[in-house]
């Protein structure tokens, strides 16, 4: 059995032996003199310290390893006061430092605590006592030993300067402690508790980032204010450095954060793109754009602008808002036909053939085109003329433009100006606006792909104008041959040459077109077609087209001339052929239905008698004869945008006091011409003698149906006179007589406009005789003779003459 021997704790008995029992202690009464607290021995061991400078009054830990130093510590610990002198080693001395390796000025310290560690090193806690100087070394072995001179501090500790320095230092150091994460906030409390300037300087100095030399200098500075100032400087510098340091750190962190974020987002974007199959990298895209800019053949100014914008684009991240704006701008720039133009076919005969092939009649227009081509073939750099086709709807203005393009071998481009109210539609929006686009001219050019297309500006008379600007003034720049070489679109910002373009404007009416614009265009009138022309057009173009469109090509869909005539006369009333085509299409559909229902084969000619079956009852009857049977109704001729038309002037009288009533939506000019008619009859009429009382005792009423249609103009003057004269004399108006002409109070008949349309309208309406002003004879001569066949024209210079032709002879 084993015996446990020693692990139990052992109580040590105490030998309690108080040796000084109740000794009486004498109480001395002091004389107020300051007792010398510490007696510093004259000769002290000198302990060299590497990289360390100790300051008076401050507690510092020390680690001692070398045997030399441990010997020194042992001796010091056994000496009363436990004092020794610590000095810093100069530089980086190797081996045990000798007298010349250390600074002479050091700090006398007292060892407060000593502890030996298991590895035999000494840990000390020491407290500084005072600054001292080694007068001379008395021994170097086994350790340094020297004769010590205690150093007295100098400088005025109580001066204002010192006080200010103390306060300032305390404040600045407090701020530094608060800012720096490396310093404990307790230091601030400690500093505030110190009042002695010298100790404050030492405490603060020891906590700053001085190197050994700096600390040594601080230690050697015996002038307290100077030392304070030195420390203060360092504190301020430290704060400054710390501020800069933290600024840099913040900025670096921020920069890193931002660039990392950007990078990650870009990576994701790239991934998304690849997922969507759009993985085209920006670089090659930009490169291609650059190539296109170079290849676009821009003039110098445009090229410069495009290059500048391209450079901006290249430096911009694709996510930037402006990126897409610049991109689409450049897309526009490169796609415009700066240098591309089509080769003109300057074959006059071929052009004429094409024009004839596409359109029947319209000789004047075709001549003008052929002339243009002829001149162009002689002089290649001809500026494109600006033609304006004016005429009623359906007369083929737009399709003529297309035909011209075909004849010249040019691209055809058409924009409609109807309802365009904003100048920007013509000239584009500035790029500063969101979603800005070039104007329609530039858009059309891009579509055309060449710089010399035939460019039709449809409905130029229907351009509106309001507070947003007047598009017609923008059109001026487009259409003026003097200006349009440098047409500048707001979006493009660089001029584009429009001179090679053959502009063709179309309009129904010239009146609404601003004078300035009218002035720049060569107006060509397309007055509308006669019945014969319509028959030809129908046979050549409309019927084949409808046959084609309704799938009747192999069945033969034919309309006889008589049938066409009736169709034109009784089912349409127009200057153009648009409604005629519609009616023909209606017929074609009926026939197609019959064929499809079966039972019919072979050609399907449609005769005049079939029309009522197929299209219903006749829509327009010649009504002139019927309506003019009573006295007081005369037929006038009017000019409308859709060609000419006839109008009836009715008058009647009732008992009254000589008033004149005018109804039927008459305009100012027309009302005045009615008054003139009455006045002339009242004053000058002799040939159809009229009782003067008739005017005094009756009210006269003139009405012009249809009442809902506004009418104006002086050309109904003769019709008014005729109507009044007929009513007042009781002589009816001759049947099938129509008339036009302005009148004066002296009885003259003045010329009026739109003669061709009016004559054609009269013919359409079944009029046999037309009374015209003498001075319009020339206009009539321009009308092709075959159109006038069957019409009797009477030219008159005075009202009485006219009345002779219009009123039935008195019996």
């Amino acid at each position: 059995m084993g015996v446990l021997m020693s692990d139990e704790a052992l109580e040590i008995p105490l030998d309690d032996n108080p040796s000084l029992e109740d000794a009486e202690i004498l109480i001395e009464s002091g004389d107020g003199g300051e007792p010398r607290s510490v007696e510093i021995p004259e000769i002290l061991p000198v302990l060299p310290l590497k990289n360390t400078v100790l300051f008076p009054f401050l507690l510092s830990p020390l680690l001692v390893r070398s045997d030399r130093s441990k010997l020194l510590i042992d001796e010091a610990l056994l000496t009363p006061g436990r004092m020794l002198l610590c000095v810093a080693v100069k530089g980086q001395a190797e081996g045990p430092p000798g007298p010349d390796d250390v600074y002479r000025i050091g700090t006398v310290i007292r060892i407060a605590k000593m502890l030996k560690f298991p590895d035999d090193s000494y840990r000390l806690l020491v407290q500084g006592v005072t600054r001292a100087r080694v007068a001379d070394f008395t021994a170097t072995d086994p350790f340094l030993r020297g004769r010590i001179r205690e150093l007295e501090e100098t400088g005025d500790r109580d001066s204002v300067e010192t006080t200010a320095l103390v306060r300032n230092l305390s404040q600045q150091f407090g701020a530094l402690v608060a800012e720096s994460p490396k310093m404990s906030d307790d230091l601030q409390v400690l500093v505030n508790s110190i009042n002695d300037p010298s100790r404050l300087a030492d405490l603060v100095g020891s906590n700053l980032d001085f190197d050994v030399e700096g600390k040594q200098a601080l230690l050697a500075e015996l002038d307290v204010p100077k030392r304070l100032r030195r420390v203060l400087d360092e504190v301020v510098r430290g704060r400054e450095a710390f501020k800069v340091e933290s600024e840099i750190r913040d900025k670096v962190q921020h920069d890193i954060g931002k660039s990392q974020r950007d990078y990650m987002l870009r990576q994701q974007l790239e991934a998304i793109r690849q997922e969507l199959g759009e993985g085209e990298d920006t670089e090659s895209e930009l490169g291609r754009l650059r190539e296109r800019i170079d290849a676009a053949g821009m003039p110098e100014e445009a090229y410069k602008q495009a290059t500048r914008e391209f450079d901006r684009l290249a430096q911009m991240p694709p996510a930037a808002a402006e990126h897409s704006v610049i991109r689409s701008y450049l897309e526009w720039m490169v796609e415009l036909p700066w240098a591309k133009s089509s080769e003109d076919r300057l074959d006059v005969e071929r052009a004429r053939a094409i024009l004839d092939e596409d359109h029947y009649g319209l000789e004047k227009v075709k001549d003008r085109i052929v002339e243009y081509i002829a001149v162009l073939s002689l002089k290649r750099d001809l500026k494109g003329p600006i033609l304006c086709f004016v005429g009623p709807p359906g007369t083929g203005k737009t399709s003529l433009g297309r035909s011209i393009a075909r004849a010249l071998g040019r691209q055809f481009e058409r924009i409609s100006l109807g309802g365009v109210r904003d100048e920007a539609e013509i000239r584009g929006h500035r790029r500063t606006y969101v979603g800005a686009l070039p104007g329609r001219i530039v858009q059309g050019l891009r579509r055309a792909g060449t710089r010399n297309p035939v460019f039709v500006l449809d409905e130029v008379d229907k351009v509106g104008a309001d507070f947003r600007g007047d598009p017609s003034s923008a059109l001026l720049e487009v259409l003026d041959p003097e200006q349009n070489a440098t047409f500048s679109d707001h979006y493009l910002e660089v001029p584009f040459d429009l001179q090679q373009i053959l502009f063709i404007a179309t309009a129904n009416l010239m009146d609404p077109v601003p004078a300035a614009l009218r002035d720049r265009m060569e107006v060509i009138e397309l007055p509308g077609y006669t019945e014969e022309e319509k028959v030809e057009i129908a046979k050549r173009f409309l019927i084949p087209r409808q046959r084609q469109q309704n799938g009747l090509a192999q069945f033969g869909f034919e309309l006889s001339d008589a049938c066409l005539q009736r169709l034109i006369r009784s089912y349409t009333r127009e200057a153009g052929v648009r409604n005629l085509e519609r009616e023909i299409a209606g017929l074609a559909r009926k026939v197609a239905r019959k064929v499809a229902e079966g039972g019919v084969s072979g050609p399907q000619p449609v005769g005049p008698d079939d029309l009522a079956d197929l299209l219903g009852p006749v829509r327009f009857e010649p009504e002139v004869a019927e309506r003019t049977a009573m006295p007081g109704v005369a037929v006038g001729l009017a000019w409308t945008p859709s060609g000419g038309d006839i109008l009836f002037v009715e008058s009647t009288r009732m008992p009254g006091k000589g008033g004149l009533k005018l109804t039927g939506s008459l305009g100012e000019v027309m009302r005045e011409s009615a008054e003139a008619a009455r006045s002339w009859l009242r004053t000058s009429a002799s040939s159809p003698a009229i009782e003067p009382e008739l005017f005094e005792k009756s009210d006269i009423h003139i009405h012009v149906p249809a009442a809902a249609v506004p009418k104006d103009g002086p050309s109904a003057g003769i019709a008014m006179v005729t109507s009044l004269a007929s009513m007042l004399t009781g002589r009816p108006v001759k049947p099938a007589v129509a008339m036009t002409g302005e009148i004066t109070l002296r009885g003259k008949v003045l010329p009026v406009g739109g003669i061709k349309e009016k004559v054609l309208a009269a013919k359409r309406a079944g009029i046999a005789t037309v009374v015209l002003p003498e001075q319009n004879r020339q206009d009539v001569e321009e009308v092709q003779q075959e159109l006038l066949e069957g019409l009797h024209l009477e030219y008159v210079g005075r009202i009485d003459e006219a009345l002779r032709h219009t009123l039935v002879e008195a019996n």
Partner: protein, 130 residues
Amino acid sequence: MSEQDQDSLAEYFGEFGDRLRGDRWQPDVDIYETEKALVVRVEIAGVRGQDLNVRVDGQILRIAGVRRAPDGAQVRRLHQMEIASGPFERRLRIPIPFDRDAVSAQIADGFLTVTLPKSETGPRRVSVEV
């Protein structure tokens, strides 16, 4: 002495675990060797013998006790209070072999002096027979 200095002091001399205890005061200790013995001197003025306990536990010398504070009932107003009081304990590792049975302790002039005679043989081993 400021708080900060005390901190660094505690940090510095805190290699022995017991010094880190904040709940009791600790008397200062000197330890030195003479020719024959290791001497531990502890500053325990005012601690009565019956309140003091000294034990040897292996290589650890444990000194514990209580210093009585002045009778609180008689105190009217305080002006300065520096002398620590209450229970204390110090555990000191003895760095050399010593004769455990010959350890002696005595109190004189406010110091406790513990004398640990040096032993040539080193720490006694425990042998166990089976």
